[in-house]
């Protein structure tokens, strides 16, 4: 970006991409470059968060995101604690606020929250002194996913500016989509979205995005193709008739990918449904960066943890 580079995040929490300036996003991505280097060392650990406690508070099942955060925290030498629903007192009827207040009483530095309700992170941020990192709240945002997606795109394309990024799938329920749209717009990309009309929320067009139900139109000349997971319960909810019909109409096949730019990259936040939203040949193909995204997730989350901890004067990662 041409404007002055950010050297720190202005907010205590990471609740969503909505709260970040373009300069702050670039700062996170630049910091993640340094963090990725840490991951290539023989001893993948720096003392940055030594003595700090990070609680991973997950009210929804998650393997990828929780594991990624935990590895990131451990590489920064934080003391980490995982609290997952089912083992927590939520099943005893405790409210989210009370659960958070009890964790807060043990003075963690940060809480990484995954929750099924949109806005749950905002609620916690109003009652907790600890920094809140949104690891996915309902249908709202999943900011570290969008950041790792941007990091991956930047790594391959050099910049996001002017890129046609076509996003396919469940546009109604996806928090990954919302965070990505905000981020892509802030960094000057041109997002397109495509999905069945039943899964396009009214008002999406107001987020500065081209909306279409025609896959060919969306994929035409795309620099980046980003697939969103189609959840089985959406079919049961009547949003589309069958998985078979979904794949016929919207599935990303080799044939459809041909319309994109020759150097297109194929992304997916995972977990993928082979043969539903994406053909295996595409997911496993040469243009697929799906596993790069997973690898980069650790570096990006290290960057977020590091910057929220406020330590830009730590030479061990510079």
């Amino acid at each position: 970006m041409s404007t002055a580079a950010a050297t720190a995040l202005s907010q205590k929490n990471l609740l969503g991409i909505a709260d970040l300036s373009p300069e702050e996003i670039v700062l996170i991505l630049d910091t993640a470059d340094a963090m990725k280097e840490v991951g290539r060392r023989a001893i993948k650990k720096v003392p940055t968060l030594r003595g700090r406690t990070v609680v991973n508070l997950f009210f929804e099942p998650s393997t990828r995101t929780r594991t990624s955060f935990e590895i990131a925290e451990k590489r920064l030498s934080a003391d980490t604690l995982n609290v997952a629903i089912g083992t927590s007192s939520v099943v005893k009827g405790e409210t989210l606020v009370d659960t958070a207040l009890n964790i807060e009483a043990m003075a963690p530095s940060m809480i990484v929250l995954r929750h099924a309700s949109s806005g749950a992170c905002h609620l916690l941020s109003r009652i907790c002194k600890a920094a809140i990192i949104n690891a996915g709240d309902g249908m709202h945002e999943h900011p570290t996913q969008a950041l790792l997606d941007a990091f991956t795109i930047r790594e391959r394309k050099g910049s996001l500016s002017g890129l046609k990024v076509a996003i396919f799938g469940d546009l109604l329920h996806s928090r990954v989509l919302r965070s990505n749209l905000l981020l892509l717009r802030k960094l000057g990309a041109e997002p397109w979205v495509c999905g069945p009309a039943t899964l396009i929320p009214p008002g999406l067009v107001d987020m500065g995005v081209r909306v279409t139900t025609k896959v060919d139109e969306a994929v035409e000349g795309a620099d980046v193709v980003m697939m969103l997971r189609i959840q089985l319960e959406r079919m049961q909810g009547g949003y589309f008739p069958s998985l078979r019909e979904y794949f016929r109409t919207f599935g990303m096949t080799e044939e459809r990918v041909q319309r994109a730019k020759p150097d297109v990259i194929i992304m997916h936040p995972g977990p993928i449904n082979r043969g539903v939203e994406i053909a295996s040949e595409v997911a496993d193909g040469p243009y697929s960066v799906i596993l790069d995204q997973v690898a980069n997730g650790v570096a990006v989350r290290m960057a977020v943890l590091y910057l929220l901890a406020g330590g830009v004067d730590d030479e061990t990662v510079a």
Binding site: S118, G119, D137, H140, E141, R175, P201, P202, G203
Partner: protein, 440 residues
């Protein structure tokens, strides 16, 4: 005992009155309204000397409140609800039947009326359920409810479940001359929505409730009212499309009336995003909608298509609201903010005159429910609301008299408030505002 309210501006549209006049209260009833009434108070009466900056009106009636008793007394009781009512300038309230148990039988109605007599502040008019248990299956014992004192029926909180049941309700209630009050909401379209379906809900990731969910049920019931000749009252109208359906119905002569809540003519769904993102005190049903809807409600108030301003006073305990947005109950308290909002947002900018406000909040609710009030004619119950249109009021939730504090207007300042409330000739509330007389 006689009491003279002297020198205020009296606005009594039912009798074509708007001017600086005196109002003589004789015991529990209005004695006389006139100029320079003699002060002959030998039997120990009193005079309240007011200036024309005060407005004396027939008592305001809120025809849509939830008093929560029996069953949810941690949110509100009849006693705290009527205290909140008179503090907010209402001399009477009509309370919704979605209590626990549901007010679908004379026993519950009588309990509410007994609690109201004990509290002895605002008048309370119970509204019975349309269907037994509000289950939407069979009609409640509506004749019994009417005999016990119910003034209308509704399944509020839910729509009347089917077109057939709505038809039967409109037909059956016509025998008693009471209206059917409808909470318009197509349940299948609402789904598990929590906010108005539009750009704000899309950005916040909240499940949407489209305006059409309201308008579809309103359209259904207006057609049924036309077919049956029954009386239909649309509760808490919020969508511009519903207003269009009401206008069309009225133009065809259908016996349909409609109410709007203060939040729906002042706020929009933008309040969900800022200043407090996901504020559960901005969550109500029907939801705050878009500017087009909000502006339509204002236009309906101005042009007469809206008959009533009612609050949908929906108290909820702090703990119930201090949760994730989608888990919080719908609703806000409204009794103590409605008049301030209406004076500030409708009368002060000149959208409507005071006489129209009195129609919306006193004359028309009394007429629709068929209850006394809405007029200062001699012999009417001496139910009087005294407004202070120039009073500056800052809403402080800690000072609300309702048991619950769930208002989105905390910290808002309005010009216009309540100076005093008289029920049955008794001054049951005086705000003690500057200019309010010391008694003599």
């Amino acid at each position: 005992m006689k009491r003279l309210l002297r020198g205020a501006r009296v606005v009594d549209p039912a009798n074509g009155i708007d001017g600086q006049l005196d109002v003589l209260i004789d015991g529990e009833r209005i004695g006389q309204v006139g100029r320079d009434l003699p002060v002959a108070l030998a039997d120990g009466g009193e005079v309240l000397d007011l200036s024309p900056s005060f407005v004396v009106c027939p008592g305001f009636i809120d025809m849509h409140v939830h008093l929560r008793e029996p069953g949810q007394e941690h949110k509100e009781t009849v006693a705290t609800g009527v205290l909140s009512a008179v503090t907010g300038g209402f001399t009477a309230v009509a309370c919704m039947p979605n209590t626990r148990p549901v007010n679908d039988n004379a026993g519950v109605t009588q309990l509410i009326l007994q609690k109201a007599r004990e509290a002895n502040l605002a008048r309370v008019y119970p509204i019975g359920a349309v269907s037994r248990g509000q289950k939407g299956e069979e009609l409640a014992d509506i004749a019994e409810l009417c005999e016990a004192g119910c003034v209308a029926v509704t399944d509020d909180g839910l729509p009347i479940a089917t077109a057939m049941l709505a038809r039967r309700a409109l037909e059956y209630t016509s025998m008693f001359g009471i209206p059917v009050i409808e909470h318009c909401e197509d349940q299948s379209l609402k789904g598990d929505g929590v906010a108005h379906e539009g750009p704000v809900a899309a950005a916040l990731g909240l499940r949407g409730i489209p305006g059409a969910a309201e308008a579809i049920t309103a359209g259904r019931d207006i057609l049924l009212a036309e077919m049956t000749g029954g009386r239909l009252h649309i509760a808490h109208m919020s969508a511009w499309t519903t207003l269009e359906a009401v206008r069309q119905g009225k133009s065809r002569g259908v016996a349909v009336t409609a109410e709007v809540c203060p939040h729906h003519f002042t706020l929009t769904d933008e309040l969900l995003a800022a200043p407090v993102p996901y504020d559960t005190n901005a969550k109500m049903n029907p939801p705050l909608r878009q500017a087009r809807d909000r502006d339509a409600m204002l236009s309906g108030i101005v042009d007469g298509s809206v008959d009533v301003i009612a609050t949908d006073h929906a108290p909820h305990h702090y703990d119930e609201k201090n949760v994730e947005f989608d888990r919080a109950p719908f609703g806000i308290v409204g009794l103590e903010t409605a008049i301030c909002i209406a004076l500030d947002r409708l009368v002060r900018p000149g959208l409507i005159r005071l006489s129209r406000l009195v129609e919306l909040m006193s004359v028309n609710p009394a007429r629709i429910l068929g209850v006394p009030g809405g007029s200062l004619a001699a012999g009417m119950p001496a139910d009087i609301t005294v407004l202070a249109p120039d009073l500056s009021v800052t809403i402080d939730r800690a000072r609300l008299r309702s048991k619950s504090k769930n208002t989105p207007y905390h910290g808002w300042t309005f010009t216009g408030g309540v100076a005093g409330t008289v029920v049955g000739g008794r001054l049951v509330f005086a705000s003690g505002t500057a200019g309010w007389p010391g008694r003599r």
